[in-house]
């Protein structure tokens, strides 16, 4: 009789596991979601810093032009009115906040310790039930003759395993649904942010281009006037300006590439959510998210180095 009950529960356990569609290795999936979240956090913070500094950069450039050119007409609105409205900047700020919240909730759900807490609670419930059964056995002649605890022990172990699988499957389904629901809007946001970042790159790089062009004219003037020391000093400045431009472009273009990788990683999450969740699907997801994470770290560190050098 006991063997038949155990056999039935084993069958039910296997059937439940098969029906759940849980990722084969939920821990690896959880880690990938966590990496995606921290990479997005880093990308968003760097991008927001750049977007927020568009106004101050433009104002600073106008001041530089006024200082360098005594004949430049003073257009006070260029100093007093920011080119970007506070509402438009606030919209980007909120967007980054929403993106962060979304990836944080993805990570929170993926990392939820619900199945572990279930196991702990279930273990305590089993101990309490066992104590109750022991007391019942001691006080009741009829119950004392039944092998209740012999049956409940293995059944509870099996039901724990099922509960864990159900919790993981439920969690996996919720993650899949949320990722699929947010996907079109995330794509839309990412496209708009790419335009903003392209604006930032061109805004900064155009000033560097003008600076280098100006220096080449000063160089030609020094050549024409046979002023060798001025020529050499200008040559050094040209060399420094070219190097600074390369560094700045590399960080800013790295940021755009990280945004591209964010898209690829999010697409991979959507694809994984819709897949059969086989080992190859998971391996593909892990590879893509790791590459995004490495790129985000690199850009974050490069941005920090650049900021430290400027301050």
């Amino acid at each position: 009789m006991k063997r038949a009950i155990t056999g039935l529960w084993t069958f039910l356990l296997l059937a439940a596991v098969a029906a759940c569609g849980t990722p084969r290795d939920f821990t690896i999936y959880q880690e990938s979601i966590g990496e995606f979240q921290s990479a997005t956090d880093q990308t968003a913070s760097v991008a927001l810093e750049y977007v927020e500094s568009i106004n101050s950069f433009e104002r600073g450039y106008e001041l530089t032009l006024l200082r360098e050119d005594p004949d430049r007409p003073l257009n006070i609105s260029k100093l007093s009115e920011p080119i970007l409205s506070p509402q438009a900047i606030a919209a980007r700020d909120r967007t980054f906040g929403v993106l962060k919240q979304y990836t944080q909730m993805l990570a929170a759900l993926a990392e939820s310790d619900a199945s572990e807490r279930w196991k702990a609670a279930s273990e305590r419930a089993r101990s309490s039930a066992d104590a109750l059964l022991t007391d019942l056995n001691a006080e009741s002649g009829i119950l004392g003759e039944l092998p209740i605890s012999d049956i409940t022990g293995p059944l509870k172990i099996i039901s724990d395993a099922i509960a864990t699988e159900i919790i993981n499957a439920k969690r996996s389904r919720a993650l899949d649904a949320a990722i699929a629901k947010a996907a079109p809007a995330i794509q839309d946001i990412s496209g708009k942010l790419r335009e903003d970042l392209t604006f930032v790159i061109r805004q900064r790089d155009s000033v560097k281009q003008l600076e280098i062009a100006e220096l080449t004219i000063r160089y030609a003037e020094a050549q024409e006037s046979n002023n060798n020391s001025a020529r050499l000093s200008t040559l050094t400045k040209i060399d420094q300006a070219l190097e600074a431009r390369t560094k700045s472009l590399s960080t800013l273009q790295g940021l755009i590439q990280t945004l591209d990788q964010f898209d690829i990683a999010h697409d991979a999450l959507v694809r994984y959510a819709k897949s059969e969740k086989g080992p190859q699907d998971l391996s593909d997801l892990v590879t893509i998210v790791r590459s995004y994470s490495d790129s985000a770290k690199e850009v974050f560190e490069s941005f920090q180095r650049l900021s430290a050098a400027l301050s």
């Binding site: 433009e58 032009l65 080119i83 970007l84 409205s85 509402q87 438009a88 919209a91 909120r94 967007t95 929403v98 993106l99 919240q101 979304y102 909730m105 993805l106 929170a108 759900l109 939820s112 619900a114 807490r117 279930w118 609670a121 279930s122 305590r124 419930a125 309490s128 039930a129 104590a131 109750l132 007391d135 006080e139 509960a163 919790i167 439920k170 969690r171 919720a174 993650l175 649904a177 949320a178 629901k181 947010a182 079109p184 809007a185 995330i186 839309d188 946001i189 708009k192 335009e195 903003d196 604006f199 061109r202 805004q203 155009s206 003008l210 062009a213 100006e214 080449t216 004219i217 030609a220």
Partner: protein
Amino acid sequence: MSEVKASKALRDGLFKSFEDMVRKAMAPNLPIPQRQALLNRAQELRAQWVELEAARFNSEAAAFTAAQTKVLEATTDLRKATKDLDDAVKIAEKATKVFGLLDKLLKKAVKFAPVPL
């Protein structure tokens, strides 16, 4: 703040003209005054391009808000799913208390039960 919103092609085209102008201003075979004039023109083109980009940036606040709403909905779903899992665990935690209470009640019942004659 400019209210003009230009297409992406127009903005990209303007920026390309700026870059062409800068390249010409660096040409060593041109006389210096001509190079300076090209550089000044490049600066003007840049200022116009910045205005167009700023107009696009300022006009997209509404589109950002619409996309945010969708992402927020997904975030709310995730929050609810997390809460549902927590609720499931709470059931197991409550079961522990019920078993414990029943055990205590049973012990008390035995203690106060009438002694058989």
